[in-house]
Symmetry: C2
Subunit: 331 residues, 2 copies
């Protein structure tokens, strides 16, 4: 028997426990080409919030009363595929459950070695790809650039800070509260802004970047996006990765600096991690090198047990986490 979280109703605004239900799923015999994976960790990520809405056909919504999906890591426990033997470590996309049955070609083999499972849901998984391609491709960041990254203590943001420093950029990170700001500073950020401190955010950003920004890596939207337009240099590039401050609200967002898109010739591009899946190997080669040399620090907020899946997800929006939020299974 497997167990999986399902979405039973679509949240209005902030999600709560009543939107979720844990279901038993009887294990069917494997078909030819399938494997069964016992998950060790699954990922909870902000982009899952818009997937809980009906809607927009560009991010497939979660189906009601079906197991939810997302990145996961585990070990093969049963196999009818020549690709995998029992005990192999794989990543796949059937998270939010303790055990997954899938076609072998929908799993990715993970290297044998001493890298912990957690890395493959972080720097060496889609989070790493989001940081890497968002910074270097979408925002076209280059050595010497002044880069601002919001939610810099978060999973993606904390990687962006570090890989931007590794590539010779000046980095400004924002986070909420002294503890998170200390963490961002420890990652090598040149300037850290506590967005919870009093005063207009734009003034603080301008003080940190008196000559302006070349790049903004946006994880939050709203006031920080508006401020970044105000402080941007001419021809600055914005990678819009997430707008976590806006996911639980329908209210229109007010912008005062939008006109600078013209006067500064800003380039603003949205992206999601899956856009670069075909170039995964390139990213893994670089990130794998940095991780293996100890040049990237990862921090995790771990929730133990499948039962805590929704709480792990809610924690993304409370501002309480540092680094990557994961759910650990079978510990």
């Amino acid at each position: 028997m497997s167990h999986a979280w399902t979405l039973v109703s679509r949240p209005k605004g902030s999600p709560s426990m009543e939107n979720f239900a844990l279901r038993d799923i009887p294990d069917q015999p494997l078909k030819e080409g399938e494997i069964r994976v016992s998950n060790s960790f699954f990922s909870v990520d902000p982009y899952m919030r818009p997937r809980m809405d009906e809607g927009d056909s560009y991010i497939a919504p979660f189906e009601l009363n079906e197991p939810m999906t997302g990145a996961a890591v585990g070990r093969v426990v049963e196999t009818r595929s020549e690709r995998y033997k029992v005990g192999d470590r794989v990543s796949h996309f059937l998270g939010w459950r303790d055990s997954a049955t899938l076609k072998a070609e929908n799993a990715l083999p993970l290297p044998v070695g001493d890298l912990k499972d957690e890395y493959f849901l972080d720097a060496l998984g889609v989070i790493g790809m989001t940081a890497y391609f968002g910074l270097f491709d979408v925002a076209e960041a280059r050595p010497g650039d002044v880069v601002f990254v919001s939610a810099a203590a978060g999973a993606v943001g904390s990687l962006v800070v570090q890989i931007a420093k590794l590539r010779g950029m000046t980095v400004i990170g924002s986070a909420g509260g002294a503890e998170k700001c200390d963490f961002v500073r420890s990652l090598g950020a040149d300037h850290v802004i506590d967005y919870k401190s009093p005063g207009p955010f734009e003034d603080k950003l301008r003080a940190a970047a008196p000559d302006g920004l070349d790049v903004y890596f946006d994880n939050v939207g709203g006031e920080q996006l508006d401020a970044a337009m105000g402080v941007a240099k001419r021809n600055a590039r914005f990678a819009i990765c997430g707008m976590i401050g806006m996911y639980n609200s329908d209210a229109p967002i007010g912008f005062s600096n939008l006109f600078t898109v013209i006067s500064k010739r800003l380039q603003i591009r949205g992206f999601i991690n899956g856009d670069f899946m075909a170039r995964r190997d390139e990213c893994m080669a670089q990130m794998g090198y940095w991780v293996s040399k100890g040049l990237i620090e990862s921090r995790y907020t771990i929730f133990d047990g499948l039962d805590n899946g929704p709480q792990a997800f809610f924690s993304l929006f409370s501002g309480g986490n540092t680094g990557k939020a994961l759910v650990r299974l079978g510990a």
Copy 2:
């Protein structure tokens, strides 16, 4: 004696006559390399409004109590340059005055022929470059694309409609009122939306583009920009050329569809016409061909006499004009 409009105070919100004063400027003897030009027309354009604000160093503000500048066409009446003889037709950037004294290298020679002066402040001037490079370069529009252009009865918009059709695109134009909408339709637009008609603009845009937009050429900002984000296809490109609806206001602009920047991977780029000056010849070759073959219709709203300069400028914001607004001198 020359006469020139000067800005004597910076407008708060909508500009009015009290912000302007007409000044006499004694003609100085020409220096070596200079020419004197009697202007036949000068241009009034929306981008001049932000130049009236103090401000942002990316669009040089007009200096208080100095003659304002802008595109103009005229004939050389006095010369100390080997480049020009008396009677030559030139364009230059010392508009808002009846006569201009400038270095010969700051003028552009215009072809001899039967093309009226007005064309060189429109399809064969910076307006043409704005439409051409904004559509084909900034928005990367290609044959087959579904293109939405706002203020489609205006100077830039009416050119965008026509050159997009000439390149095999499906074109949706917006304008205010039945007369302007008829004009846009006469230019070849496939669908015309009267933004003054009742109901949410986004619903009308979706009805006109049920499969979504590939390109949005934005001249107005605000509600139509928000609607275009809502109706855009995945990977749609937005060229942000102007935000005429927003120039006279400091109020923040509210957006409801901003999240689609991520989910649809939108690319939003601002630009101003000067960005492509180095590629002027390419644009003039194509636009000149279309104009010479009668494939581009231009319409003008002409204000007679230097005295009417400010009124011509105010007319840009009242929604009263069709086509390019010009001030005619010495008629």
